[in-house]
């Protein structure tokens, strides 16, 4: 049972563009929403996370936007670089449950 739906499945942008990845969750008990970045052959690395008490969080070039009423959150990569090319997973946690989205492959073209 997939509890977090991630879209789009893949994304190609030019360097400097702003790829946006969206996630929607169902379980209202979730209260922790991280994004992970994974390069081929490596484990996922925590990138940025948000809790429902704020609507936006920025860390460097990465921004999470959170819409509690819509049960959606998104990742924005500002001024994207070829080194940002990776798979991005959203996740939701709460009520002793963790659910991963299916992942989104982002390719940044030089």
């Amino acid at each position: 049972q997939q509890q977090v739906k991630q879209s789009p499945q893949s994304l190609i942008v030019q360097k400097g563009g702003i790829p946006i990845i969206n996630c929607a969750y169902e379980n209202t008990a979730f209260d922790y929403f991280p994004w992970y970045q994974q390069f081929p052959g490596k484990g996922p690395a925590l990138l940025i996370a948000i809790r429902p008490d704020v609507s936006e969080k920025k860390e460097g070039r990465f921004t999470i936007s959170f819409n509690k009423s819509a049960k959606q959150f998104s990742l924005h990569i500002m001024d994207s670089q070829p080194g940002d090319s990776a798979t991005y997973f959203c996740k939701a946690g709460g009520n002793n449950r963790l659910a991963f989205g299916k992942g989104n492959q982002v390719v940044v073209i030089p």
């Binding site: 922790y32 991280p34 490596k42 484990g43 690395a45 996370a49 963790l98 299916k102 992942g103």
Partner: protein
């Protein structure tokens, strides 16, 4: 600097031959997780330890077992690997139920 260490990074085993993957951590986190990740898919949680308490996911096959002899180490045992068990196996840790997980680099398992 390594916080979650997995050994070996690459493991080749024969069909039906038991194999053990290991994970160690220097974070002193009390929760340790094992995930299976197949190509182009999200990591799938197999089980986790909360301190010494083992928590199995309902759909994890009996073929997969785990041991946690102390806080720092956790093992994944695959009793009779099948071809479908070829995957990347990821270990992760977190402190209590903060859900902030730290992943190791993974072990790539090949079954011949």
């Amino acid at each position: 600097d390594a916080m979650v260490i997995q050994n070996p990074r690459y493991q080749v085993t024969q069909f039906g031959k038991p194999v053990t993957l290991s994970c160690s951590q220097t974070l002193n986190h009390n929760v340790m997780y094992w995930y299976q990740q197949k190509s182009s898919q999200a990591p799938k949680l197999l089980f986790h330890y909360y301190d010494k308490d083992f928590n199995n996911e309902a759909d994890t096959p009996d073929n997969f077992q785990s041991r946690r002899p102390n806080t720092s180490f956790c093992f994944l045992d695959i009793r009779s690997p099948g071809l479908g068990d070829a995957a990347m196996y990821l270990c992760a840790t977190s402190r209590d139920n903060t859900y902030e997980q730290y992943f190791g680099p993974g072990t790539r398992l090949t079954v011949t």
